[in-house]
């Protein structure tokens, strides 16, 4: 089955998306851009341009460059909106024979849906080029307020472009689909859509199998471009005041102001202050003039307050129309680039008492939603081989009751992971492998899945045996854990079934708990780690005291013994600061001992050197060996028991 394209056919810009490798993705147009201006033009040689090319030639050919045709599609010529737009649009518009609208481009009159069809056709061609396959079907989005005739016209546009139009879906519904909200029953969603030239607000009610638009309002001539204009006006006024030059008369300067204003506006979504810096913006008899102003976020918010207030009033009105209280709203979705403005998000939060969702690019969310709907229709979203994931992390218990994770949650199965562990005590001949499931840092807080013992490990100093633990999680969620002593190749294993069979509720509960306890767990883990470190240090220092007893002075030996005693006492407590500081103290004393050992060794070497040249290498090597061994033990993370 061929792909179905999802298209957000906007007033100013359009975006297309499709399901690629099982994921909804934006598809670049031929020019390599994710967004295509909804503009069509015809030049004198009857060459047709669509998208950015049409935009580039717009001012040379304004009477034959058709933009914002979405304002006219499916409308009657006598409509109030059409009459209003008539005065604003630079191209010719007349009443068609059936009372609809005709627009003139080149020598011919077209119906608005024919113009939209040209945009959709470009998308079809570009998508086929990009994906290397024929695309025959499409889902197109339209505003929630579109009536039957506007929807019909949108559908016809798709058909003229050569598509079979599977659905025309509401833009706010598409946004909800993109956020995966169509599955959660009994939800009321506010979709706040502040685009480049239009503002729409809709309230959705999601029930068992429908997404119903409860109420919708909007403003057909309010958008991000108005915000830019406010900044431009301000810059022009400032410059006139400071330099006495009116930049609004200078087309080229105005172009640069526009770019500067837009850049500043975007910057102020993340920064508190933005520099608008346009050197050589114009010149007069006295020479070149430079523009440089600082615009703060607060200033911008003040400039556009009326627009934001207007939009918030419309949200209130829509709530009233839908007969909802602010507390009824479960989600707020942001659509359109202008919603990146922090002030807008803040006002919405103040009104509706919750954080708006903005994790999906607001310029692309509608197209993504259309692609998801397409995916559902073509079965892509279900058809893909159902690969399960491990719902919770899997690990084993290690020294000090710590949960050491081997397989992280959300890992796609089948999957296997090996890790080498060692023993915690000298001459330890067996290890206990305790398999755990969960996200918590301490073993005791996770679900134990099973335990087994690997014995027959030859006696050896702690940290020396190598025990390889192998986790194998197969496609059915069956976990096989084995432990192998690499010295003897002795192996033990356990098979645990149904690890993926934890109920969803349980998964949710455990995830929530993990979040709640993350901080507490971190502390616990830190304490254990500090204790382990202390213990390892005590152990290795004690061994040094025995091994090198004749190389360490009595004073140092006493000091170390005292410090060990202190540390042993404190390490049973949970006072992490104290443990750390005592560990530090012992380390310093141990270093002193180390110095003494080396000094002594060097002194011995010197005397021996005089006697016998060959003995020197041997000693040094020995000393090195010792050092290496000690540090290894300090780090080793061992299996308990």
């Amino acid at each position: 089955m061929s792909k179905i394209l999802g298209i957000d056919l906007g007033t100013t810009n359009s975006v297309m998306a499709g399901i690629i490798d099982g994921e909804p993705q934006i598809i670049d147009n031929k020019e390599g851009a994710r967004i295509t201006p909804s503009i069509v033009a015809m030049n004198r040689n009857n060459e047709r341009f669509v998208g950015v090319l049409a935009k580039r030639q717009q001012i040379t050919n304004p009477e034959n460059t058709i933009f914002s045709v979405k304002r006219l599609i499916g409308r009657k010529f006598s409509d109030k909106e059409v009459q209003k737009d008539l005065k604003l649009l630079p191209y010719e518009i007349r009443e068609s024979k059936d009372g609809g609208v005709d627009v003139k481009m080149g020598d011919k009159w077209y119906r608005p849906f024919e113009i939209s069809a040209m945009i959709l056709q470009k998308f079809k061609n570009d998508a086929e080029d990009r994906l290397g396959e024929k695309i025959n079907e499409v889902i197109i989005t339209c505003p929630a307020y579109f009536d039957d005739s506007q929807r019909k016209a949108t559908k016809v546009a798709g058909e003229i472009a050569g598509f079979k139009v599977r659905r025309v879906i509401n833009e706010p519904t598409a946004a909800a689909l993109a956020y995966g909200l169509s599955k959660k029953v009994d939800q009321q969603i506010v979709v706040y859509d502040f685009g480049g030239g239009t503002f729409d607000i809709s309230i959705l009610d999601v029930s068992e199998d429908t997404v119903e638009v409860k109420a919708t309002n909007g403003h057909t001539h309010l958008g991000g471009d108005d915000f830019d204009q406010k900044i431009i006006d301000w810059l022009v006024a400032q410059f006139k005041k400071d330099q006495g030059v009116d930049l609004s008369k200078d087309k080229l300067a105005l172009q640069r102001l526009k770019e500067g204003a837009e850049k500043a506006k975007i910057e102020l979504s993340t920064a508190i202050e933005s520099d608008i810096n346009l050197p050589f913006v114009t010149s007069d008899s006295s020479g070149p003039k430079h523009l440089t102003y600082k615009l703060t976020r607060a200033q911008l918010e003040d400039m556009v307050k009326e627009y934001i207030d207007k939009s918030i009033d419309l949200v209130k009105k829509t709530l009233k129309d839908a007969k909802f209280k602010t507390s009824d709203i479960d989600e707020i979705l942001l659509v359109g680039g202008q919603t990146r403005m922090p002030k807008i998000q803040e006002e919405l939060k103040n009104l509706l008492g919750r954080e708006p969702r903005k994790d999906i690019n607001p310029d692309e969310v509608v197209a993504i939603g259309a692609a998801i709907q397409a995916g559902v229709l073509q079965g892509d979203m279900k058809e893909i081989l159902l690969l399960d994931v491990a719902p919770l992390s899997l690990g084993i218990e290690t020294l000090g009751g710590v949960n050491t994770t081997l397989i992280n949650k959300n890992t796609t199965v089948p999957y296997s992971k090996k890790q080498v562990f060692s023993t915690a005590g000298d001459n330890q001949t067996s290890v206990q492998i305790k398999v755990l499931q969960g996200e918590r840092a301490m073993a005791i807080d996770n679900k134990p899945l099973g335990t087994f013992i690997l014995d027959g490990i030859p006696p050896a100093p702690r940290g020396l045996p190598q025990i390889e633990v192998d986790f194998e999680l197969d496609a059915n969620g069956i976990l096989q854990v084995s432990a192998t002593d690499k010295g003897t190749n002795k192996k033990q294993s356990i098979r645990i079934e149904g690890t993926c069979g934890v109920s969803d509720e349980e998964v949710e509960r455990m995830k929530k708990e993990a979040e709640l306890h993350a901080e507490e767990d971190k502390k616990k883990k830190e304490i254990i780690e500090a204790k382990n470190q202390a213990e390892a240090l005590v152990f290795s220092t004690q061994r040094t005291l025995i091994d090198a007893k004749d190389k360490i002075s009595e004073d140092t030996k006493k000091e170390i013994e005292q410090k060990i005693e202190e540390l042993n006492k404190i390490k049973e407590s949970d006072n992490i600061e104290e443990i750390k500081s005592k560990t530090q103290e012992l380390m310093q004393s141990a270093q002193k001992a180390g110095q003494e050992i080396y000094q002594k060794a060097q002194a011995e070497q010197k005397t021996e050197q005089e006697k016998e040249a060959g003995a020197e290498d041997n000693k040094e090597e020995k000393a090195e060996d010792k050092k290496e061994q000690d540090s290894e033990e300090g780090e080793a993370r061992e299996e308990d028991k």
């Binding site: 490798d21 341009f49 580039r56 040379t60 010149s283």
Partner: protein, 159 residues
Amino acid sequence: MEKQNKEKIQKDKDLKALKQEKDKYLAGWQRCQADFLNYKKAEAERLNALVDYEIEDWAHELLIVIDQLDRARQEVKEKTSVIQGFLQIEEYFINFLKSKDIKEIKTEVGKLFNPEIEEAVETEEKKGAKDGEILAIVQKGYKHKNKIVRPTRVKVAKN
């Protein structure tokens, strides 16, 4: 004898079924391998595209600096050695962009305006000029490989 025959037939049947099963699994495994290799290739392509996007993104910002140096040059009346030095900075930037495969678009005054590579920002009636003829270059355009980073901005005759 008959019993043996029956057993043999059954064994053959089993063997055939097992072979079929084996072939099916082998095919599935091979497809999975192929899918993975294809995915890796697609991912590598995606990564390259992402790098290109990144380059174009910051090139955009850098080009503004070059524009401004360009404007400054046009205003320079007398080239002192200090100014000469400053203008050499522009050269440095341009060479740097070239090394990243970002090159100036060749636009010529007098030729016909082409929206594929140019953007009209102003029009002017001019006697003797053809309609759509480029009258002046307002801002240089650049491309990265074959993609337009920024079209050349031009003034176009409208008669």
